[in-house]
């Protein structure tokens, strides 16, 4: 820290730094204080010792399995979102009118919000919904269609709401890669497949990891669609439902806080694992020399 102090001694205090204060206060009030409050609350149970909430969670049969229930929804949803967004964004990487149109259409779900998406899906995918009626009309499939009020309903809604987000993020990473690199690779004998594998994919890996983390965190905290489109008592009883019940049905805020902390911890583990993997890849500029 000696360099920092000597630098501070030489340069007078930059008063424009004070402009950060409102934002810092905002962060403190809205994020840091509630988090610490919740953390402390979780160690302060209604009855029992400091760890009573946590032992309760991990020994109760309708609580601890919610970790896996949520993972079973969030991981496939995230993999599908990132996996679908990557090839489409790759196809869209060159600026064109086409790109603008497709981007606009794909982004529409973001504007809807989860509840509206759930409503729409109930009408479209429901047992008497448009999809079922249409399939019967063309005699393609006449059996019952069960895509709502179960695992699949929630998964589909997570894809619809999460995909545009993953797509936009990956598109911005891809368009940041200098296209001249792929052209150089092509003159060296790389066909389009090899260009993707050897040039785009390694340069995109850090961005994909980041995208995966953000999409996963979003999916793991799923709540409205798990209630509206899933079966909240059974296969889509996700961890946020458990927290909701603790807080607003049993009025046990302390237990609810503990569940929220566990949820955050699971997200943290996955994110740390993915970012750890990212470090194995190249990270640095994605252009090929002097600009």
């Amino acid at each position: 820290m000696t360099t920092a102090t000597s630098a501070a001694a030489r340069a007078p205090f930059d008063r424009t730094l004070l402009l950060v204060m409102p934002a810092a206060a905002f962060m403190l009030l809205l994020f840091i204080y509630p988090f610490i409050y919740g953390l402390l609350l979780s160690f302060n149970p209604k009855n029992g010792g400091a760890l009573a909430n946590y032992t309760h969670f991990f020994t109760t049969d309708n609580l601890w399995p919610t970790i896996w229930t949520t993972l079973k929804l969030a991981l496939p949803a995230t993999l599908i979102n990132v996996g679908l967004a990557l090839p489409i964004a790759y196809k869209m990487r060159n600026k064109s009118r086409y790109q603008r149109w497709v981007t606009t259409i794909l982004v529409v779900p973001i504007t809807l919000g989860t509840v509206l998406i759930a409503e729409g899906m109930l009408i479209y995918f429901g047992p008497k919904g448009w999809l079922s009626q249409f399939l019967q009309l063309i005699h393609l499939y006449t059996g019952p269609i069960r895509l709502t009020h179960n695992f699949w309903g929630v998964l589909i809604s997570l894809v619809i709401s999460g995909f545009p987000f993953a797509f936009l993020l990956i598109l911005s990473y891809i368009t940041g890669i200098d296209p001249v690199l792929a052209r150089a690779a092509s003159t060296l004998g790389a066909d389009p497949k090899a260009q993707f594998r050897h040039i785009y994919l390694p340069l995109l890996a850090p961005g994909l990891a980041m995208c995966f983390c953000l999409a996963f965190v979003q999916a793991y905290s799923v709540f409205p669609s798990a209630v509206l489109l899933g079966s909240p008592a059974g296969p889509t009883r996700v961890i946020s439902i458990a927290a909701y019940e603790a807080a607003f049905e049993q009025y046990d805020y302390s237990l609810a806080s503990a569940i929220a902390m566990i949820m955050g911890f699971v997200q943290l583990i996955i994110v740390a694992a993915v970012l750890g993997l990212r470090n194995l890849w190249y990270r640095g500029p994605v252009s090929g020399g002097k600009g």
């Binding site: 052209r183 890849w281 640095g284 020399g289 002097k290």
Partner: protein, 359 residues
């Protein structure tokens, strides 16, 4: 990929682009050129003249709007770039930032399925050719501009291409490095004994490197000739201007006598050599500053008396701006002892005053 070839033939190669307002224009208009093995060709012209378009068409990075490209008897303009097997050096080098220098250089070999000791030997040979031994394990971002440039060259030549394409490879280097690397490129070209097509806007580079220069303007070829001829006998006024004929005087034609043309102005009378047919009574005389002799006393022909307006010191000599009483200005190289305000007599050798029709 065949390496033994005798010539690359460009036959009326044309490339159209949609311009502003949807109007198509020819970025490259009917380029016809045959490049023989061992030749070094420079495509020379100002930016927007179509030289890079031509290079990208040859590399396969742009499709043709018309014409064809042949490598001996094989038509190649329908092949994608990865099937043509030409080595290309890009202006900003386009090194793969996530690969080590050795991996960059070896990329083309890897794409061809050449691996192991065979590939290592070829990479080592290319690294030696560009004098980069010892840098193999660095990432491109850790190298200087000049070193990155050499990696780009090594990467292009390691696949032993029949043709090496270079797109202004020296434009990002500083002046000293540019001259050094220029000599390197010429040496590498000689050692490889392939053909090189080199795009540049710098006439010094083109003159010093090329066996033949293709001068272009607005997508159209102006002149294809050896450096000496382009330098001494530009085919038209545009080429002359581009090759450093800084003095272009518009004068009245008095008499044409074979190729010799006598012209006159308010207080200048010059005789020069006609380079293109003239059809009006006015013409342009193009003269290079270096060709004008200060203090000449060679008879009465082509003597101009003028006053020195400006002096730029240039070491061995000075660049003078001299102005006649009626205001005609000439750029002249003269002795460093000349001072501003001096009155001088300058002599223009008849064979170095080139007469062209006006633009």
């Amino acid at each position: 990929m065949k390496h033994d070839f005798s010539e690359l033939r460009l036959d009326h190669v044309t490339r159209r682009f949609a311009g502003a307002g949807g109007k198509a224009f020819n970025a490259l208009d009917e380029l016809t050129l045959t490049i023989r093995r061992g030749e070094f060709i420079a495509l020379l012209g100002p930016s927007g003249c179509g030289k890079s378009t031509a290079l990208n068409c040859i590399a396969g990075l742009l499709s043709l709007s018309g014409g064809s490209i042949w490598l001996d008897q094989t038509r190649i303009d329908t092949l994608p770039p990865e099937k043509r097997g030409f080595g290309m050096v890009f202006q900003n080098y386009a090194l793969f930032p996530h690969m080590s220098v050795a991996k960059n250089v070896g990329f083309g070999l890897r794409m061809r399925g050449i691996t192991g000791a065979d590939a290592d030997a070829k990479v080592a040979h290319a690294m030696k050719l560009v004098q980069l031994i010892g840098q193999e394990h660095k990432l491109p971002g850790q190298l200087s501009g000049g070193q990155q440039q050499r990696v780009a060259i090594a990467r292009a030549i390691v696949i032993e291409p029949p043709l090496i394409l270079m797109d202004e490879p020296l434009s990002n280097l500083d002046a000293k490095l540019r001259i050094e690397t220029r000599a390197e490129i010429r040496r590498i070209h000689r050692e490889l004994d392939r053909a090189t097509i080199y795009v540049t806007h710098d006439q010094d580079e083109a003159l010093s490197l090329a066996d033949r220069i293709v001068v272009m303007k607005d997508g159209v070829v102006q002149q294809i000739a050896a450096p000496k001829e382009v330098y001494e006998q530009p085919s038209n006024l545009h080429v002359a201007r581009f090759m450093g004929y800084r003095n272009v005087l518009e004068l009245d034609v008095v008499r044409e006598d074979g190729d010799r043309v006598a012209l006159t102005g308010p207080d200048v009378a010059l005789t020069g050599m006609r380079k293109q047919p003239l059809n009006v009574r006015r013409a342009a005389v193009a003269i290079r500053p270096d060709d004008i002799v200060v203090g000449g006393n060679t008879g009465d022909v082509n003597i101009v008396v003028a006053k020195v307006e400006n002096v730029e010191y240039g070491g061995r000599d000075s660049l003078l701006d001299v102005v006649t009483p009626s205001g005609t200005m000439l750029h002249v190289r003269g002795p460093v002892t000349t001072a501003r305000g001096d009155s001088v007599r300058v002599h223009v050798p008849v064979e170095r005053a080139l007469v062209y029709p006006l633009d």
